[in-house]
Subunit: 344 residues, 2 copies
């Protein structure tokens, strides 16, 4: 059943779930675009100056990205929210907003779950300034949700931020706190604590895509950025690899939530930051004067945590340094969200 299709088959009296979903999405449904939900495809006009389309797709699967049932790590509303946040975050890391979302949902559960999922999707779409233009919903044995995000940009504006544009001498800086989402998940899984007021649990269930920070960085001339989805080591590793540089991170400079440091040991908190992922903060690499200018008006919005250096060995590397500047091997090196790796 196509979510673009809001009409009922003429000869059927069945309740149409799509009407229900579009109704539930409320103001987050793209009703005022050229061709809104209700046809084979959606169509919308770009702002006059824009002639570049920027797009990405992101999928979350039950059992991999969340657990349901008696050990549920998220409510259906959280699943909807986080699916949108994670997808929007990929565009934020380019310095672009996600104007349009297309959803694909495979559901093993009933209407109540779908309603709650839609509520979370709607809330996140409204929060991040995105509109839902279409989608597809299919019955399956395993619940999953794919979110396609589509934005636009002008070729005459500042370049989109990429992974391959870090330069030796750049400062590496990060928004927000790292490790909070992984800490939140650990708290949820500790049966003794499931505090709704926990900022860590909120970070896990209701992450916020760093859209404004992405726009600010791009418009200030930052050329290199990535979002922290797989953990700092892996994500900074992507920059190192794509830019063919080494990157040194000073462990003690990584910003962490006060609650994380209260609930866990310093070593655990560092592991969460380096390997936990799903924080959806931005890591940027740029000359010091750009980072300084970004921080001029807002105190440490982009907190320096390291620097870009020449490749030391053959392969680009990320090194974590202690306070004496000695590099050490962290315990964890990134979570495997159902990713498929094959031995060489």
């Amino acid at each position: 059943m196509n979510l673009n299709d809001t009409s009922q088959p003429a000869n059927f009296a069945e309740f149409d779930l799509i009407d229900r979903i579009v109704g539930r999405l409320g103001e987050s449904a793209a009703k005022d675009i050229l061709i809104p939900p209700g046809d084979d495809a959606a169509a919308w006009a770009l702002p006059d100056a824009n002639n570049m389309v920027v797009a990405s797709i992101d999928t979350m699967v039950e059992g991999i990205h969340w657990k349901s049932g008696s050990v549920a790590t998220m409510l259906p509303q959280d699943i909807g929210w986080r699916s949108v946040a994670a997808a929007v975050s990929d565009l934020a890391a380019m310095g672009v907003s996600a104007d349009i979302l297309l959803l694909s949902v495979t559901v093993a559960e009933g209407t109540e779950f779908i309603d709650d999922l839609c509520d979370g999707i709607r809330d996140a779409a409204l929060r991040f300034g995105s509109k839902i233009a279409g989608g597809d919903i299919v019955r399956g044995r395993e619940t999953s949700i794919s979110v396609t995000v589509i934005g636009s940009a002008s070729a005459t504006d500042k370049p989109l931020m990429r992974r391959d544009s870090a330069s030796v001498g750049d400062v590496v800086a990060v928004t927000g706190f790292l490790g909070s989402s992984a800490g939140g998940l650990a708290l949820i899984q500790r049966s003794d604590s499931n505090n709704e007021l926990s900022s860590l649990i909120a970070a896990h269930r209701r992450p916020v895509a760093s859209i404004e920070e992405g726009h600010l960085a791009r418009s200030s001339g930052v050329l290199c950025a990535i979002d922290v989805s797989d953990g700092l080591m892996q994500d900074v590793g992507h920059i190192a690899q794509a830019s063919h540089v080494d990157i040194e991170i000073v462990a003690s400079e990584i910003p962490q939530d006060r609650e994380l440091l209260a609930e866990f040991t310093a070593a655990e908190a560092l592991d969460f930051a380096l390997g936990g992922g799903e924080d959806y903060e931005l890591v940027v690499a740029a000359p010091r004067e750009i980072i300084d200018s970004l921080n001029e008006d807002s105190d440490l919005l982009f907190r320096p945590i390291g620097r870009v250096v020449e490749v030391e060995n053959e392969r680009p590397q990320v090194r974590v340094l202690d306070q004496e500047g000695i590099s050490f091997i962290p315990n964890r090196v990134g979570w495997d969200h159902g990713d498929i790796h094959e031995p060489e």
Copy 2:
């Protein structure tokens, strides 16, 4: 793991499946766009005159859209092909090409399956003139594939074809044959026949999106079209509902493959056409002179099968007429591809 991400984490020696997939996609990977696979998102420029984005998403799930194992209805290559064809067909029905694809794959199977799936995706993308700009692959218990298709159009060109623009007096016409895909599936499921040379089996496993026909119809001034994905009754019903008209289809005018009529009774063949779906042909509604002009150079490319009339009762209806013009109730009224309907 993000298919946009082709780099290896700097500190890992694991074989990177994404490199393998992008390699496998060959010429169908969008290597020459502004930001090719390998970053948080992909970016591409629109043709100068274009300022409208047209997009849709379509999902296929194992057990619903195909069966695997000992009763397999499709090979992995077929699954890849048909996922792309079905998604591209939604844009064809608007009169637009799918320039860019984003894939999301959840796999329960191994590397060999993924390789074969990629081969089918590649072949279909090359056949339909689309390039793969990104994607996401996740391990799951149930295999599914979502394909996002993105095209563009100019506001100064002929309008996109929609469902809500059929007018009383229009002729309803269809491309190609109807019922072939359902007939092919029935043949596959009949253990006595699994003929690789069957045009019906090919129609089921390797359907062809009607892109050229869609462009031709739109450029000739056709305003109303839909692709036959759920079966003629349901899909024409969408037009009736959206345009608030009744539609009369003359059963004997529905074009059908000679093999279908040889393998099945006339009643079975009609059922396949009316309710089978997945033919990915186009149904258009337009004034007779436009249909005639479309058929001028190519004999019955758009074969008239019915007409658009005033709504007779309160609710728009699709009526099937026999050769005497008497309407009758067909046996089947559309397949339920895992669609979720609730009783009223």
